[in-house]
Symmetry: D2
Subunit: 139 residues, 4 copies
C-alpha cells in the first residue's frame, strides 16, 4: 500500500515549443518538482535544512526513463501522480504518471540517491545510504 | 559505420541548481539540440522549412532514457557525441554520450518519430513513416 | 479602478541557482504567465484560438523593466499581482508585483503589443491595433 | 575606452515558443551568461572559487531593462556585445546588445552588485563594495 502524492501543474505558453506542444524537458522538470513534493508531503524537511544540519544536498538522479504518450499544450492542467516504488540500500526509485483528466500524457521512472558533498573534491557529490529516519517518514 | 556528430555546450551558472551541479532536465535540452544538430549536419532542412513545405513539425519524443554518471558544473565545456543507431518504419533511435574531456557525464537514448499536425484535432500530432529522402541524407 | 489578478507560483528547487536563490529569468517567465492569466481571467480566449480564428499569435514583448528587491528561494509561495495600467493605440503596459506574504520580492513592467504573422516574411510578426473586443473585455 | 566582450549564442528549437520566436526570458538568460563571460574574459575567477575563498556568491541583479526590437528564431546565430558602462560604490551596470549580423535584436541593461551570504539569515544575501582587485581586472 504505497503512498501516492499528486502534484498539479498548469501548462503555460512558455513551456511549449514551436510545434505548440510541451517542450519535453519540462516534463522532467515537473517530475523533479513532484519528487520533492512527495518527500515534503511525507514530512521530510526541505533540502536547505537537511544541508545545513546533515550535509544532504538533495537527491540527484542516477537514471531517468520517460515514455511520452500524448502531447500536452498550454492552458491545460496536468496532475502528476507520484509513488516511491523501490528502496534499495543506497538508491530509490520513484514513478510518476502525468495525467490530463483520465488521459495519460507521459510516464516516468527516476532512480535517485541521497547525496552529500565530497570533502576531497569541491563540486563533487557522493551517495550515502538512505537515512533511516527519512525512510521511516516515507513508508 | 554510422555517422557521429559532436555538439558543444558550455555549462552556465543558470544551468546549475542549489547543489551547484547541472539541473538534470538541461541534459535533455542539450540532447534535443544535439539531435537537431545531427539532422542539420546531414543536410536536413530546419523544421521551419519542412513544416512550410511538407507539414513536418519536427521529431517529437516517444521515449527517453538517461543515465547520469558524473555531475557537471558551470564553466565546464561538454561535448555531446550523437549517433543515429536504429531506423524503424515509423521511429528512430538516437544515442547521445555527454563527455567532459574523456569523462562520461551522462548517456542518453531518445526514441523519436517524424510528426505532422492532425487535420482533425487542432494541437494534436501524428507520426508519419520516416521520409525516404531524409533517411537517405542521414545514412 | 483597474482590475488586479493574482497568479500564484511555488518556487521549486530547479528554479534556483548555485547561490540558492531564484535564477532571475524565472521571474520574467512567471510574469509572462501572469500576463496571460490576466487576459484569461478577463475572458479573452487562449492564443491558440485567437491564432486559428484571427491570426493573433499572442502579445510579444516590446520592453521589460524589473527591479529585484529581495531574493526568493525554493519552497516559498509567491503571489504575482498583475494590473493593466495603460492602453495605447498599438501597445499596452502591464505591471506585476511579486509578493511573498507582505514582502515585495520584485516589481516588473511589461510593454506588449498584439501581433499577427507577416504574410511577406515567414517567421516575422507585426503589431496590430489593440482589438476593440479584447479591450472591452479587459476594461 | 571600455572593453567589449562578445558572447555567441545559437538559438535552438526549445528556446522558441508556439509563436515560433525566442521566448523572451531566454534573452535574460543569455545576457546573464554574457555578464559572467565578461568577468571571465577580464580574468576574474569563477564564482565557485570566489565563494570558497572570499564568500562572494556572484553578482545578483538589482534591476534589468530590456528593449525587444526584432524577433529571433531557431537556427539563427546571435552575438551579445557586452560592456560595463558604470561602476558605483556598491553596484555596477552592464549593457548588452544582441545582434544577428548587423541587425539589433534586443538591448539590455543590468544593474548588479557583488553579494555575500548573510551570516544572520540563512538564504539571504547582502551587497558588498566592489572589490578593488576585481575592479582593477575589469578596467
Amino acid at each position: 500500500m504505497s503512498r501516492v502524492t499528486i502534484h498539479r501543474v498548469e501548462v503555460t505558453f512558455g513551456d511549449c515549443d514551436p510545434a505548440g506542444i510541451v517542450f519535453f524537458p519540462n516534463f522532467s522538470r515537473w517530475m523533479d518538482q513532484a519528487s520533492l513534493a512527495f518527500f515534503r508531503a511525507c514530512g521530510v524537511p526541505p533540502w536547505r535544512e537537511l544541508e545545513a544540519e546533515r550535509g544532504i544536498v538533495g537527491t540527484p538522479l542516477l537514471e531517468i526513463q520517460t515514455r511520452f504518450l500524448l502531447p500536452a499544450t498550454y492552458g491545460e492542467e496536468l496532475e502528476i501522480h507520484t509513488e516511491l516504488d523501490e528502496w534499495n540500500e543506497r538508491t530509490f526509485r520513484q514513478c510518476h504518471v502525468v495525467k490530463r483528466g483520465s488521459d495519460i500524457i507521459c510516464e516516468g521512472m527516476e532512480l535517485r540517491a541521497f547525496c552529500v558533498r565530497r570533502a576531497d573534491i569541491p563540486g563533487r557529490l557522493r551517495t550515502i545510504p538512505i537515512p533511516a529516519d527519512i525512510l521511516a517518514l516515507c513508508s
